[in-house]
Symmetry: C2
Subunit: 216 residues, 2 copies
């Protein structure tokens, strides 16, 4: 019975996600769904990406949060359109929340939409939003066993960023073990080791992103 309800919810979500994607396609907007644990660096990555792409593509940001608006305020300062979705306690964004946010977003002015999901490695993996690519941000302090513990999240990712590589000297984290863990469940995923503090690896990430936008 619980499973049946969940299936109904997920099916309804898929329908709305498909409509969101059509709207984005019609407006020429390429959308990323950014997912991660709390504190892995989603907002920092968005800020770095905005900095690197200034003048190259027009960016909009949608910030998913449970109740605060801290992140949207930080991003608004960068001069890009930023909208906050407060989930009211829910642990993930869903397509319906994105649909409401899109109606408040100046879509004709945007080429790239970055959607920051709620910090959670579980539920966001099950809810499509209408995005074109799913990106997971992992970070060195979380440990290299995460692909084994949260397999669905790493299975559905188009790209995985390994953030905070500036902390590698101080922590036990084997990038090869981590990468093999992901490739074992998701052969075609792209992996980018990055640091939002030193900007190492950000160029490679941004190049991939621009290629994705141009190929859509």
């Amino acid at each position: 019975m619980e499973i049946k309800i969940l299936k109904d919810i997920l099916n309804a979500n898929e329908g709305i996600a498909e409509r969101n994607r059509q709207l984005l396609d019609n407006k020429g907007v390429f959308a990323l769904n950014l997912m991660a644990s709390p504190g892995a660096g989603k907002t920092s990555l968005i800020l770095e990406t905005i900095k690197m792409l200034k003048g190259k593509t027009r960016i909009g940001v949608i910030e998913g949060d449970i109740s605060s608006s801290l992140d949207a305020e930080a991003i608004g300062k960068e001069g890009v359109p930023a909208i906050q979705i407060n989930t009211g306690g829910a642990c993930h964004l869903d397509a319906n929340m994105l649909s409401s946010a899109l109606s408040n977003m100046p879509l004709p002015d945007i080429e790239l939409l970055l959607i920051e999901n709620v910090g959670n490695l579980v539920c966001p993996a099950s809810f499509a939003l209408g995005e074109h690519k799913k990106v997971v941000i992992s970070s060195i302090p979380e440990g290299d066993d995460k692909p084994f513990k949260y397999p669905l999240m790493f299975n559905i990712a188009d790209a995985v960023l390994i953030n905070k590589i500036d902390l590698l000297p101080y922590l036990k984290f084997d990038i090869e073990v981590f990468s093999k863990g992901i490739k074992g469940i998701n052969e075609k995923v792209e992996i980018f080791p990055v640091s939002c503090v030193t900007s190492q690896g950000i160029q490679e990430w941004v190049s991939w992103l621009l290629t994705q936008i141009s190929q859509r």
Copy 2:
């Protein structure tokens, strides 16, 4: 309608949690529900706590995970009874899962039961298990804004550990800002800065724990 279903689920959960607590009380077992983001150090803290309490109290561990059994294997090596709960994709433990696990646990041999919840700062906060105290483990790399972003989790905590303080020299994290953020929503919470690498602060945490057990 969705809210009604959620209410029913939470009410049913409360009833089972209450029965779990009665069973634990009858057997003289003090139970902790350990909650945190993925990679904050739940398993490391459990291993440190086992090491410090060897010979002082008899410990059992229940490991909640989405699908793997990595953590239960690590803890089993310490020679304490360890049982794995695989949630089958669910993002939190619930009282019913704990009830099944308790029936497989040698309760008469245990005084302290450590329950490691699924790595998630959202949903586990809503599901009582039958524990006596709720403990949240936060960590330095996650950032000092977490109490503002995940208020329910920090609101329901009896104690909050700030883990990985050995990384303070390399990261921007203001323990005072973080602590004030928690105290603002939860005045009576106990806060313990610790490192499971250097063992700093672990003695204070373990002393608090022993006091809780003796006062129950």
